[in-house]
C-alpha cells in the first residue's frame, strides 16, 4: 500500500522555508545599505553564501599574539574582520560557567562554531558534506573580540 506523504512533508517544508527566508530577510536588513542595496535576499544563497563562508574561514590564520603575526597576516586578519563587520556577522559566544562541568567542553565546542546569523545552515544539506575549512575556537574568539571593537 503506497504511503501518501504530501500534506505532512509539504507543510513541514513550507514552515522551514519561511523560517530560512526570515533569516535571510532579517540579515539583509541588518547589512549596511551601501552593501545591502546591491543585493536581494533571494540571491544570497544562489551567489553569496558559499564563497562568503570560504572567505570567512581562511586556513592560513594562526592563533598567536597579534605582534607575532607577519605584516601579510595582520593585513589578512584586518580584511577578514572588516568583511565580518560590513556584513554584520559574528560568532555566537557562550559563558561557560553557566553550564554544568560535565557538559561544558562538548556544548561550548558545539555552540562556539555557530555563526550569527546562522548562514552556514544554508549549506547543511542532507547527505552532503561541504569542504569549507573550520576555524578553531581560539581564532573564532579572537574574531569575535575584534568585531566587537568596531
Amino acid at each position: 500500500k503506497p504511503n501518501i506523504e504530501w500534506p505532512k512533508s509539504h507543510q513541514r517544508y513550507r514552515t522551514m522555508m519561511m523560517e530560512k527566508m526570515d533569516i535571510l530577510n532579517t540579515w539583509h536588513h541588518k547589512i549596511p545599505p551601501y552593501i545591502a542595496r546591491n543585493l536581494s535576499a533571494s540571491s544570497f544563497v544562489e551567489t553569496l553564501i558559499s564563497p562568503l563562508l570560504h572567505i570567512l574561514s581562511p586556513p592560513t590564520i594562526r592563533p598567536v599574539a597579534f605582534q607575532l603575526l607577519s605584516d601579510k597576516e595582520k593585513n589578512d586578519l584586518a580584511q577578514l574582520v572588516s568583511t565580518m563587520v560590513s556584513y554584520t556577522i559574528t560568532y555566537k559566544t557562550v559563558k561557560s560557567d553557566i553550564l554544568p562541568q560535565t557538559q561544558r567542553c562538548d556544548v561550548v565546542d558545539s555552540l562556539a562554531r555557530s555563526l550569527v546569523p546562522p548562514i552556514s545552515d544554508f549549506i547543511n544539506l542532507k547527505d552532503y558534506t561541504s569542504n569549507h575549512y573550520v576555524l578553531s575556537i581560539a581564532i573564532k574568539q579572537l574574531l569575535v573580540h575584534d568585531v566587537r571593537l568596531h
Binding site: H10, Y34, N38, S40, S43, V45, S50, L125
Partner: protein, 354 residues
C-alpha cells in the same frame, strides 16, 4: 570589506562593463527631463550598480547618504483597513524599495508610496530637480494587480515622481508598464569583460595571476560578475600565491544538484525517486529558487546523457518549468520532471542493452 563591494563603480564614469550604456545614461540625465526607466537583465550583470551610479549623476553624492526606514502604512481598502509594513531606503531625493516583499498586498504599497512622494515633492522648482525618484526592485515579482495599479499611478503622478524599475525578466512585466518606460537591457557580461574586471582587481590588490587563471574563474561564473569576483576572492583566501591548476570552489547547492543528477542516473525506481524528492525539498527549504533548481538539474543531466535523448529531455524540462510557473507547489513539477526523466532513460537503457 569584500572586493565585490570595494571595487563597485560609484559613478557612471567609473563603470567598466556596459560603458556604452553608462555613457548614454549620462547624456539622458544631463538633458533635463528623464523618462521612467526599466532596467532588466540577469542577476549579477550590474543593474543595481548602474542604477546607483545614475542616481549619483542625477542628485550628486547625497544620493549615497541613505537611511533605512521600517515604515507602516495604514490603508483604507474599501471594506477593511490594512496595516502594511515595509523596509525602504531613502535619501533626500529618492526612495528604494522592493514592493513584492509585501506579498499579495503589493498593489497597495505601490499606490501609497507614489502618492506620498507626489505630496512631498520639492516646492522649490528652481532647485536642481523638480521631481523625486522611486526605485522599485524585483518588479517582475509584482502581482498582476500591483502592476496594473503601478501603471495607473505612474501615469497620474509622472510630473512629480520618476520611476526606475529593476527586474531580471522583462517578459514578466506587463506591456502597459514596459511601453511607458525607457527599457534598458543589461546583458550578462561576457567572459572577456569579466576577465578584465578580475585583472583590474588583481592589480589593485597587488596580486600575480597565472596565465588563464582569470579566464577559468570567468568560465565557471555563468557570466555572473558578482559570482566571479566572490570566487576570485575565495581563491585568494584559500591559497596564495595562486597556482595554475588551483581549484575554484563550486557553489554548494550546485554540487548538491550534481549529486542528485548522479543519483537519478544510477537508479530509476520509486524508492530512488522518493530519495530525490527529499533532496529537492532540502534545496527549496534553503531558498534556492525552484526555476533555478530545474535549470541546473537539466544542465547536470544533459552532461551525462547520450545525444539521442537530449532533445526529448529538454522538451520535458521546458514543459514542466512552464507548468511550474502556472502552479503554486514547485515540488510537484520538479518531481514530475524527475519521474519523466527516469521513465525515458530507463526505456532507453532497456532498448539499448536489453
Amino acid at each position: 570589506m569584500l572586493w565585490v563591494d570595494k571595487y563597485r563603480p560609484k559613478t557612471l564614469d567609473q563603470v567598466m562593463v556596459h560603458t556604452d550604456i553608462a555613457h548614454n545614461l549620462k547624456k539622458l540625465v544631463t538633458e533635463q527631463d528623464s523618462p521612467h526607466l526599466l532596467f532588466y537583465g540577469p542577476s549579477g550583470s550590474g543593474k543595481k550598480t548602474l542604477i546607483m551610479a545614475l542616481l549619483r549623476q542625477m542628485f550628486g553624492p547625497g544620493a549615497e547618504k541613505v537611511k533605512v526606514e521600517n515604515r507602516t502604512w495604514k490603508i483604507d481598502a474599501g471594506s477593511r483597513s490594512l496595516d502594511l509594513e515595509l523596509t525602504t531606503l531613502s535619501s533626500a531625493n529618492h526612495i528604494e524599495m522592493s514592493p513584492s516583499d509585501a506579498g499579495f498586498q503589493d498593489r497597495y504599497i505601490v499606490q501609497e508610496v507614489i502618492k506620498e512622494m507626489a505630496k512631498n515633492r520639492p516646492i522649490d522648482t528652481k532647485g536642481k530637480k523638480g521631481f523625486k525618484v522611486l526605485v522599485l526592485n524585483d518588479v517582475d515579482k509584482l502581482s498582476r494587480e500591483a502592476q496594473h495599479s503601478l501603471r495607473r499611478t505612474m501615469e497620474k503622478y509622472s510630473a512629480y515622481c520618476r520611476l526606475i524599475l529593476c527586474c531580471n525578466s522583462s517578459s514578466r512585466v506587463t506591456e502597459a508598464i514596459r511601453s511607458r518606460c525607457l527599457n534598458v537591457r543589461i546583458n550578462a557580461p561576457s567572459e572577456e569583460q569579466i576577465v578584465q574586471v578580475l585583472e583590474f582587481i588583481g592589480k589593485k590588490e597587488g596580486l600575480q595571476l597565472p596565465p588563464g587563471f582569470a579566464a577559468r574563474i570567468a568560465e565557471k561564473s555563468n557570466r555572473n560578475l558578482r559570482r566571479a569576483i566572490l570566487s576570485f576572492e575565495t581563491c585568494r583566501v584559500l591559497q596564495y600565491p595562486f597556482t595554475n591548476k588551483q581549484a575554484i570552489p563550486p557553489m554548494d547547492w550546485e554540487e548538491y544538484i550534481s549529486e542528485i543528477a548522479s543519483d537519478i542516473m544510477k537508479e530509476q525506481s520509486p524508492k530512488r525517486l522518493f530519495q530525490v524528492r527529499g533532496k529537492l525539498y532540502e534545496l527549496l527549504i534553503n531558498c534556492i529558487p525552484p526555476e533555478i533548481i530545474l535549470k541546473r538539474l537539466l544542465y547536470e543531466l544533459l552532461r551525462k546523457l547520450d545525444a539521442e535523448l537530449k532533445h526529448e529531455v529538454c522538451h520535458w524540462a521546458a514543459y514542466y518549468e512552464y507548468r511550474m510557473r502556472l502552479g503554486q507547489k514547485a515540488i510537484f513539477h520538479i518531481e514530475a520532471f524527475v519521474a519523466k526523466f527516469m521513465s525515458i532513460y530507463k526505456s532507453f537503457l532497456i532498448a539499448t542493452f536489453g
